[in-house]
Symmetry: C2
Subunit: 502 residues, 2 copies
Amino acid sequence: MTDASDDTKNPKTEDFRPEARAPRGFADKRARDLRAEKSILEAVSAVYERYGFEALDTGAFEYADALGKFLPDSDRPNEGVFALQDDDDQWMALRYDLTAPLARFAAQNWETLPKPFRRYAFGPVWRNEKPGPGRFRQFIQCDADTVGSARPEADAEIIAMAVEGLEAAGLPRGASVLKINNRKLLNGLLTGAGATSEGQKLAVLRAVDKLDRLGVDGVRLLLGEGRLDDSGDFTKGAGLAGKAIDSVLDFVQAGAIGVGGGRSATLNNIAKVVAGSAEGDEGLEELAKIDAALTSLGVADDQAIIDPSIVRGLEYYTGAVFEAELLLSTTDEKGNKVTFGSIGGGGRYDDLVARFTGQPVPATGFSFGVSRLAAALRAAGREPASAARGPVVIINFDQAHMGEYFAVVGQLRAAGIPAEVYLGTSGMRPQMKYADRRLSPAAIMLGGDEIAAGTVTIKDLDLGRELASGVADNAAWKAERPGQQTIPRGDLVAAVKKIIGG
Amino acid sequence: MTDASDDTKNPKTEDFRPEARAPRGFADKRARDLRAEKSILEAVSAVYERYGFEALDTGAFEYADALGKFLPDSDRPNEGVFALQDDDDQWMALRYDLTAPLARFAAQNWETLPKPFRRYAFGPVWRNEKPGPGRFRQFIQCDADTVGSARPEADAEIIAMAVEGLEAAGLPRGASVLKINNRKLLNGLLTGAGATSEGQKLAVLRAVDKLDRLGVDGVRLLLGEGRLDDSGDFTKGAGLAGKAIDSVLDFVQAGAIGVGGGRSATLNNIAKVVAGSAEGDEGLEELAKIDAALTSLGVADDQAIIDPSIVRGLEYYTGAVFEAELLLSTTDEKGNKVTFGSIGGGGRYDDLVARFTGQPVPATGFSFGVSRLAAALRAAGREPASAARGPVVIINFDQAHMGEYFAVVGQLRAAGIPAEVYLGTSGMRPQMKYADRRLSPAAIMLGGDEIAAGTVTIKDLDLGRELASGVADNAAWKAERPGQQTIPRGDLVAAVKKIIGG
């Protein structure tokens, strides 16, 4: 579309024409994507409201120092965020998650907030990272957090709510599972084994996090001296002794799916490995209370499991951690199997509000990416049925009959059926093509004969698509759903409803 | 909340504590505001979908050259927008409206879009301007546009949809009116009167735009030599001759509310003043077609009027212009009368897509500010009833009974009633205060006695607030709604529903 002459490149010429393109990593979303996301957010919001969480929305910008990644020597602070200087020279940055704004808001309003403060939020977040296929620089997150309660029951409510929210969003029971762990367990185990340096603990977490990819033997190497991979690269290990390695491996395998016996059996397995250290016992007691509350809340053993292999990021969390994993097998557009894995997560964090106030405030929350969940639902064939439906199109033959077209379109709209009069200037065939591009269920024709007779002609476009794709059977529909029919105008709404419902 | 010691000011010290504050002009929105905005957007979206408009969402950023205010010599282009340089040194800026991204999107995808392209969009826009009371640097707009149709019927559909959308959002019929004008009328009139320079036309538009504030006599001066205001400042006038001034004043008064006779009477009045110039006749014909389509679409004379005094910005629009005006009298928090005036507007513009492609594409649209409409509805006493409701709170007496609390809260949630167990650590009185701050309808108490007897005690907090504010009558409610009652657990849902419904 762009004129490629030199004039278009020089913004100072009168007829400078910019290229029509969006910045890299920012997606234009059309109706199908937006309906899928809206359907998720409406379902999840309803669940969160029922749990007593109130909505909160903060502005897109926070001061850079409030985001927690402040680099004072940099001319452009905060690699990874979109930052700019305000008129008063203060740096502000677009939020990169919904937790930092919550921490700022809670610290700012702590005196007057009802406490514990339970809020949910959704909206765009921005990451100034290199975009790629499926990796965007703006995407929608949905978070729920309880700030100001150290009770394990607060974690349990977040977990129960996440389970119910994902089911409400369209994932049937069994399609996903919430996995729960507690940082204190592994910490206690490592302290008991004499591995007390933060560096060593971090190396252990990194090793455990690779269980899915490398298997038990690979992780065993990474917990010990190190691992030489197939390409010849050597990764230095955590340097644990043999007995400690066994304990860690027993621990991380204590709750995998298929171990059986549910959350209480897993708790018993963990107790055998972890018991004895004060921190481990604390973690166990917290998990036991979470388990009890989940049971009271009606969350069954197949909906939420305790899985000590869950790491969920390296820093930041201080106690319980959760991860929602998709169990559905999904396929991409070429029919290849796709593993989605994690579709959300969260946990307990106690330091975010303290950054502002100096007072630690216990908090716990769950977050998921809305576009990612929508993609998972689509890949699993569970997109909402109405996600791709267009309006009924009234074909526009003659300016003189415009009043009749508008009367008919009003009749359909009054019945709640999306409908429009074609308002371009093209002829019959392009109008039918237009209706097809809009994925219209039907086209309505009102020629002079129909107007004189008080009738309308309906063309069933859904049927055309079904026949073309082999979904409908040519012989069977002829009796049930004629491809085109002329009927009294009074029967129009019923006829269109039959097409939409069919 | 912030420690004011010097350490908090130096980001390089370990215990640096940023101040918890949001950048100026960015609002934190709580549940009440968000529910009001959501209610508006859901109602309006449903109407727009019914008219066959599809949803579109573009990213927050556009390249600065695509925004249409490009200043190539500036180090920070685009005064008035939030701009920053991408990794590849290209300037991008946060969208300041939803029209510029639509123009870019339409130009980029013109070949494959169904045409005419009808889309609606809502979301935040950003203006880098000086914030003030009620003036924010981020706010939500909602737009609908038809791109690729020059037909007046496309304008009519936008107008009909705006009328229906505002009614669906909560403004009852008669609370607002859609005013319609056409740029070509005044242009034609001025050309006929020999006022052909763009500067003079602009001066006339500016003068007409002040009709509400200065009255006919003030505008007469501004159309002629100029006007000396009360403070002694002289504003130079448009310099029209006496006869042209009379024509302009006849024209702008031809459709004011109260003139009577509806749109067709106004059209006749206008024809008397404007007739004879080619451009004026064109504008008249367009308005006549808009009027006919509106009538076919069921839009009555009290819902949309033709008002030649509507100016709607000075540049940008090329034909029909529309403005939605609030007719409700509203009051501020002190009970003072507030005039809201315009709550939305739009019109026909033909040059936006041409900026990219060189090909003019006719377009028409309507836009309104969602927060502004929410504020208007609230000021008019028409906020959605549920906008401030909190959850039922189950009072937490004893950790040992947590399972019972969760069973009861589950019972309420299953019935669709927002409810929560108090999960802080405070005693009975702070818990009641918490429930009050959340605007909970009721608090549920489950002591040892109730648990043993299978009962619950409900405290009606709505009633407490009604009694406190004088809404409820102390004697009348004693029979109907006891302030506190102990009932079998099986009757809980019914009892709470009675409180919420009452």
